[in-house]
């Protein structure tokens, strides 16, 4: 019934236990090291886009720069503000750091998905999946964990006992909660098509380019997910949480030393996790690029999938950096408008349209009837959207008449 890891079905031996331990250890270390290089990569690429050089002194090409920064942060004085809520202040960095790790556990980072293999590879003579865990609730767990990360940022600002962090955390909680809705709605379209929430199941269903969810759901949910994920990560252009010009450092203003480093690491780790989730959901994860009967072949044994996965993740990491280098920060009301008045309605409408199409297909409607249904649906959606626009206009006018601030 559940697509459990083949390793854990039947008798669990010490060998199976060892394989799980190796997977946990490897993913922990790889994620930490990858974060280190991600910081370097981001600084280097953004420097390139701004006609600068970037870090180039520590190690070859400045690769060890993050290590040097981390060592420095480790040995700096760890300040605990007088007016801080001591317990929560200490807890907050871990609340944002630990979910960043956990969310990565459900990502299939490799595996052989060809010929209905469902991602199983042989490792040390054991047949297993190349992901730490494949819970049946899958992506739901990912969404839950990304919600917990909001607490980390929110509590960090609140417990600092200082006004700028508090303003930053108020922004953070409002922003992340509102974009989570758009995020969830665009993921729901994938659940609808894949019929499963397990990440392994979602990847298995994306055998060829035509079945990749970016194509199968129509590009709109992908775009919405990309935007909402950027906001969820508090990355530019949605980095109002730590808008330097307005809020000093935002929620982490009062943090120093290793606690600040944890926030910093969590931010970059979340960027990578989010890129990995996008790849898993929309771009077939470790599946190779295949169009029709042609497949781009790379032979690396059990790690062929990992190669494809990494290649795709790198593209998204680059896109995030590109966003940061190009786009200026949004104003707070623009951010909220984009979230509530544009992304959520579109995501909801797209979800409803796809659901309708799915029902029509299951009921055996003819192609013409399906198209007619879509046209009627689109007309209704546009009417609703027009009504919404009118409602917001009216309310804006009323507020202006009442002399509110905007």
């Amino acid at each position: 019934m559940f697509a459990l890891d083949p390793l854990l079905t039947g008798d669990v031996t010490w060998g199976d236990f060892g394989v799980v331990a190796v997977k946990v250890g490897v993913s922990f270390v790889v994620l930490l090291v990858a974060t280190m290089f991600m910081v370097w990569f981001e600084r280097k690429v953004i420097a390139g886009m701004q006609n600068r050089i970037g870090p180039n002194k520590a190690g070859p090409f400045g690769l060890l720069q993050t290590l040097a920064d981390g060592t420095k942060l480790f040995f700096k004085e760890d300040l605990l503000p007088e007016r801080a809520d001591k317990f929560v202040f200490r807890l907050a960095p871990y609340l944002s750091f630990v979910p960043a790790f956990l969310a990565f556990c459900i990502i299939p980072v490799g595996g052989d998905f060809s010929n209905g293999n469902a991602g199983r590879v042989k490792l040390f003579g054991h047949s297993t999946l190349l992901q730490v865990a494949d819970p049946p609730v899958g992506m739901l767990l990912g969404l839950a964990l990304s919600s917990i990360a909001v607490y980390g940022i929110m509590l960090a600002g609140w417990s600092s006992g200082s006004k700028y962090p508090l303003l930053g955390s108020v922004r953070a909680s409002a922003q992340m909660v509102s974009y989570e809705a758009a995020l969830g709605l665009s993921v729901a379209t994938i659940f609808l098509l894949a019929g499963t929430m397990s990440t392994n199941g979602i990847v298995s269903g994306q055998g060829s380019l035509r079945n990749w969810n970016i194509v199968a759901t129509g590009v709109v949910p992908f775009v919405i997910f990309l935007l909402a994920a950027t906001a969820e990560l508090n990355r530019p252009p949605f980095d109002l949480v730590e808008a330097e010009q307005e809020l000093v450092g935002g929620f982490n203003t009062e943090y120093s030393s290793i606690r600040f480093a944890l926030f910093f690491l969590a931010e970059f780790m979340n960027t990578m996790t989010m890129s990995a989730i996008i790849v898993t959901l929309f771009l077939g994860g470790p599946q190779p690029i295949s169009i029709g009967s042609w497949t781009a072949d790379v032979h690396l044994g059990p790690f062929t999938g990992t190669f494809w996965f990494l290649a795709k993740v790198l593209v998204f990491l680059y896109i995030y950096i590109w966003f940061r280098a190009t786009l200026p920060r949004l104003r707070y009301d623009q951010l909220m408008d984009l979230g509530w008045k544009i992304l959520i309605p579109i995501a909801l409408a797209w979800f409803m349209a796809l659901a309708g199409l799915k029902v029509a297909q299951n009921a055996g409607w003819s192609g013409g009837a399906q198209a007619l249904g879509m046209v009627v649906g689109a007309a209704i959606i546009f009417a609703c959207f027009g009504l919404l626009r009118m409602a917001t206009k009216v309310s804006a006018r009323v507020r202006a008449e009442e002399g509110a601030m905007f």
Binding site: G48, M49, Q50, N51, R52, I53, W322, T326
Partner: protein, 219 residues
């Protein structure tokens, strides 16, 4: 579309699309053997300060505290005192009794140099001085004032290179008094210990007028 155009512009700045690096690595190159090859610094680099003296060895500072007043980082602390008539420290009525600059705060804006009425404080070209404790970060008068040869004193933690201590008053000599063109090339400053009256600078080389070429973004 403006949005996408922006993405194209940032992407085009990469080196393989012909984007240019405008950074000068004054502190040395990338590889180990290049670490010590410092790039030549422009004449008017804002570096560590020096307190100048007149040709007869008298200090130029008169303890007026204008530098401390103008300092945006509030890193200068000056106290003036009446000169001893028998053995004066400066030619005027008063002299700088205490003079301290906190280099943990200094932003090297050179406003103190502009404010100084006697050209007492100017800047050398030294910017690599990584002290390891807070006490070293606060330079006192004993450390700032030039030695008997008119050269800045060199602290053990400072990385002085050839030419860093030359033309410490270059900034003064580039500025025509009152900003009027007819004063250009005329001496409007006092002599310095070890150098005498410095000659006015020749016309500015083109290098100073035009910045290094930055790739213009076509629309």
């Amino acid at each position: 579309m403006g949005l996408l155009e922006g993405f194209a512009i940032t992407a085009r700045q990469h080196r393989f699309f012909g984007g240019e690096r405008v950074t000068n690595e004054y502190s040395g190159g990338r590889t180990r053997d290049q670490h010590d090859q410092k790039e030549a610094k422009p004449d008017r680099v804002h570096g560590r300060h020096v307190l100048n003296r007149y040709e007869d060895g008298m200090e130029k500072c008169i303890g007026c505290e204008l530098c401390a007043g103008v300092c945006p980082a509030k890193c200068i602390y000056v106290r003036g005192k009446d000169n001893d008539p028998e053995n004066p420290t400066s030619p005027g009525e008063r002299f700088g009794f205490v003079y301290e600059i906190n280099y943990l705060r200094c932003i090297h804006c050179d406003l103190c140099v502009e404010a100084c009425p006697t050209e007492a404080i100017t800047e050398s070209k030294l910017f690599e001085f990584s002290f390891t404790n807070r006490k070293d970060a606060i330079y006192t008068k004993a450390e700032l004032v030039v030695g008997d040869d008119g050269k800045p004193q060199q602290m053990p933690w400072e990385d002085w290179r050839e030419g860093d201590d030359k033309n410490t008053s270059a900034w003064m000599r580039a500025t025509a008094p009152a900003g009027a063109a007819e004063y250009e090339g005329q001496v409007g400053w006092s002599g310095e210990l070890g150098y005498g009256v410095r000659a006015p600078e020749p016309a500015q080389p083109e290098r100073d007028a035009a910045p290094k070429s930055v790739r213009a973004v076509g629309r």
